[in-house]
Symmetry: C2
Subunit: 194 residues, 2 copies
DNA sequence: TCCTCAAGTCATCGATCGGTGACTTACCTG
DNA sequence: CAGGTAAGTCACCGATCGATGACTTGAGGA
């Protein structure tokens, strides 16, 4: 990712590399902890180029997070397998691109600005909660129970990666699956085989 | 909280006011988003005084968070009431001193530095998880189930205050208690009246 | 080959940050 | 009332930040 004197001049490729490095930096160090010079230095390019391409630092941030949203692939398949799949994706998948943390958890680090909060909420609601809502039945408080289950998955991810609580950090996916099933049954009122 | 020309020169009182305003700033804007000049301006004092009292910005941060830890009162009483009390304290109590958010959730905003992560982990483990562990029985994975329940409470707090998910934001304490009971029963294997 | 236009660079600005040391002011004591 | 001491202030430093505009360089077409 360092400057290579003989590389070609390719606007789109350079732009993509800037976005990639920006995603990693913003996720690992947060918005304030990342400077435009850092990102440009990772790509091996002059910092002024970042402003030519993205207008401002917040523009770079928005574009980087917008492209990251496409990278999150929501699982499909039988609804009974959704909790296990979401747990795997939120907690156990190796998000090397985001310094080992899930993008959502990493984004919370930069949630000081209001637009970041809106983006996280939209991604959570339209993405994960929308998938999870297929699990809930009934009309009374379907959405609430869905969000409660999503809160659990998010809390597990945060305690594991951001806080580093001992038992959850050591736990394997197999250690969590039985509890995943029992909590899913308690919230959704039906058996969820995992 | 502005400068009052006729106020007395009281080192301890000024120091306490600095810590109070620092806690609010750090919680609301994060470590990087808070400047020493901001905190000093809130108290109505010269920024240089902050360095005279706390040595550095990180010293101010450490002292502010150390004093905040004492402010967290862990509930006691019958173990059966612990989940409801913790839920109230983590989610529904009005933490006006910390811009409406629970200190733990606010601290995650400043978790870019490593010592912040250690402090949050220590506070979670020695505090909340220690209290919750009285709920778990058996020896197989007592600690894991305790952390799983703590993860849920933390996730609820984050979805409510930091993400702003719709149903959880609107939910009252009474809306959550039945689900709190069922999940506690699922994880701890015994009835928890709430 | 040479010209053109876009990709990329360079120099620099103004603001703000954490931090330092000399200075001034107010309170307490004798 | 006088003077010492601690609380609080002032001026300033070096570094870094986001951002701007003029400049240079390289690749492709006529």
């Amino acid at each position: 990712m360092t400057k290579q004197p003989g590389r070609k001049r390719d606007r789109e490729a350079t732009r993509a590399r800037l976005l990639e490095c920006a995603r990693l930096r913003f996720a690992r160090d947060g918005y304030d902890g990342t400077s435009v010079r850092d990102v440009a230095g990772d790509v091996g390019v002059d910092p002024a180029l970042v402003f030519r391409y993205f207008g401002s630092k917040s523009g770079l941030f928005s574009d980087a997070m917008a492209t990251s949203q496409e990278a999150v692939v929501l699982p499909d398949g039988p609804v009974e397998e959704l909790p296990a799949k979401l747990l795997h994706q939120l907690v156990f998948e190796d998000w090397a691109e985001y310094a080992g943390e899930h993008p959502l958890i990493a984004m919370l680090r930069s949630a000081s600005h209001e637009d970041m909060r809106d983006r996280v909420r939209q991604q959570v609601c339209d993405g994960y909660l929308g998938v999870l809502s297929e699990l809930a039945e009934g009309n009374d408080d379907k959405d609430l129970r869905t969000e409660l289950f999503g809160a659990w998955l998010l809390g597990i991810g945060i305690l594991r990666t951001a806080v580093g609580t001992p038992s959850l950090t050591k736990a394997t996916e197999a250690d969590l699956t039985p509890h995943l099933a029992s909590v899913a049954k308690a919230l959704f009122g039906r058996d969820i085989p995992v």
